[in-house]
């Protein structure tokens, strides 16, 4: 997107002329979401259906529950476990992936084991985790970790493996030290794939977190939604589902902003290539 005014210039009338265009772009992206919400609100307003309560009621309940009454008891523990598990996944997955990506022979030897770990439907492990580690926070964090580490590990591995051999040769001929090679060459080159891996891990981690809470917890968002359904409190259930949806979207959005910032050189280069 072109800057509003070229650097060194004062705002000109032409720049003002672009403002409506910016507004138009934003409107084009937003109007459908607004229409969907408005339709939901209007169509459900007189609803007496047990399954589909009016959106106004859900929204009222949403405010009662989540602003900010039950945040310390239900939202915070869930998010803390989730965040901790994702940070640990990065701490384990990125170094391991970089090592495996650099050492071809080791990578080939461990690849069947990694393949099995990646392919195993992670939820099948939950009962085993309960049996070994009980039902505390430690179990929940390690369960999310066990599922979320794979995409990051594989992303880092593939990213490092795909580093242009010419780049490695150049680093060698300039006699870069190991540290310089790692932080100046390998990690930046692998960063787009690592970020793609983390993005997948976030989605998997949320699913594991919620199912874990549905099955064993006595607090947390997954527990709250299932509990509401089992006590036929449908408005509560919808309010909980709405919050989980919002959190999922917010987490993705924040991550996208972070990615855009950290990888701005990558996106700039890609845009340049696309332009010709």
């Amino acid at each position: 997107m072109a800057p509003l005014a070229a650097p060194g210039h004062v705002l000109t009338w032409r720049a003002f002329g672009r403002l409506p265009r910016l507004a138009l772009t934003v409107a084009r992206e937003l109007w459908f979401a607004v229409v969907v919400l408005a339709l939901w609100w209007v169509l459900s307003s007189g609803s007496t259906s047990f399954y589909f309560p009016p959106l106004s009621e859900i929204w009222a309940r949403f405010q009662e529950l989540w602003l900010f009454d039950r945040v310390p008891t239900d939202v915070w523990p869930s998010l803390r476990n989730f965040g901790l598990a994702i940070v640990l996944s990065c701490a384990v997955g990125i170094p391991l992936g970089v090592v495996l990506g650099s050492l071809r022979r080791v990578r080939e030897i461990v690849s069947p084991v990694l393949g099995f770990g990646w392919a195993l439907p992670k939820l099948a492990l939950l009962p085993a985790f309960i049996a070994v580690a009980g039902i505390g926070d430690g179990m929940r964090v390690s369960f999310i970790l066990a599922g979320a580490v794979w995409p990051i590990l594989l992303g880092a591995q593939d990213g490092v493996r795909a580093v242009d051999p010419g780049l490695r040769d150049m680093a060698r001929s300039y006699r870069f030290g190991r540290g310089t090679l790692l932080f100046r060459v390998l990690l930046p080159a692998a960063a787009p794939q690592i970020f793609a891996g983390i993005r997948t891990s976030l989605a998997i981690g949320l699913v594991l977190m919620i199912v874990g809470e549905m099955l064993v917890a006595s607090s947390g968002l997954g527990f709250f939604v299932l509990q509401s359904q089992q006590s036929y409190a449908l408005v509560d259930m919808w309010a909980g589902a709405l919050l989980i949806g919002m959190l999922g979207y917010l987490i993705t959005l924040l991550f996208t902003v972070l990615e855009r910032f950290v990888l701005r050189w990558h996106f700039a280069r890609r845009a340049m290539h696309a332009a010709g």
Binding site: R28, Y51, A119, Q229
Partner: protein, 274 residues
């Protein structure tokens, strides 16, 4: 043979086949090592005996359970709902996504809503579909469709939207229409997107199937695993986890093979994550 391998050792682009042959022994050794260390951890009590089972116990239970009808009924139940759900995802998601991606205006309008829906973890719907269908096959299928349709729909939409204007204009100038446009212009662009979407949907669908079976005790492998744990049949539970792993591995292999075959021409035959 060994001379060839010796000669190729210095070359960067050695074929994967040669590497696989020479690595079979260390690969097996690693697997044996991992299994042995699990056994050691259980025997020395690092992993609690109340939760972990010796290797021999798991192997014995696996040998027993493979010959029971109950296992294959459970596996059949899980795979049926997963496959039917996945088929519906493809049948609905691909055309709908293509329709939405065709016009730039439509694409921009729906993008935000679709990204929101996709970012919502679909397991939150388990309680809701449970109300409608009870713990049944239909519930699982419905859940797989509700959760799994988005990745493939969005990929289809992105794929069609990615069609280059020049390409379309050229095709139009040469009057390439109908089936020929479909086969030689549309498909080569969209297919890589579709296969990525289908794989994500498949993995997600399997996760949803097993997860919903655990939470709602609908029939299937997930329920069998959970039942084994609650009835304290730990060896049986680990045996079933192994079965689930093998199924996951099969699903993954099938998709990898399809992608390699269908997209053999595509420059990036490396896992594409977007």
């Amino acid at each position: 043979m060994s001379v060839t391998v010796q000669a190729l050792r210095g070359v960067r682009t050695r074929t994967a086949g040669a590497g696989r042959c020479s690595n079979l022994a260390p690969q097996l050794a690693l697997v044996v090592l991992l299994l042995a260390s699990w056994d050691l951890l259980v025997r020395t009590g690092v992993l609690p005996a109340s939760g972990a089972v010796r290797l021999s116990g798991i192997a014995g239970a696996l040998g027993d359970v493979v010959f029971t009808a109950a296992l294959w009924t459970a596996v059949g139940d899980s795979l049926t709902s997963w496959l039917v759900g996945l088929a519906v995802c493809v049948l609905v998601g691909v055309p709908l996504g293509a329709l939405l991606g065709w016009r730039d205006g439509v694409y921009r309008s729906v993008r935000l809503v679709l990204e929101f829906v996709r970012a919502t973890p679909p397991v939150v719907l388990i309680p809701f579909v449970l109300l409608f269908f009870g713990p049944s096959q239909e519930m699982k299928i419905f859940l797989v469709v509700l959760g799994g349709v988005w990745p493939i729909l969005i990929q289809s939409m992105y794929g069609v939207h990615d069609l280059e204007g020049t390409l379309v204009h050229t095709a139009r100038a040469y009057r390439i229409r109908g089936p020929r446009f479909f086969a030689s212009v549309l498909m080569p662009t969209v297919l890589p997107y579709l296969l990525t979407g289908a794989r994500v949907s498949a993995v997600l669908g399997l996760l949803l199937t097993i997860g919903s079976e655990m939470v709602t005790s609908a029939p299937g492998l997930g329920r069998a695993i959970f039942d084994a744990q609650t009835s304290n049949d730990l060896a049986g539970m680990y045996a079933l986890v192994v079965v689930a792993g093998v199924i996951g591995l099969l699903v993954n292999t099938v998709f990898t093979v399809i992608e390699r075959k269908v997209l053999s021409w595509h420059p990036s035959q490396r896992p594409v994550t977007s």
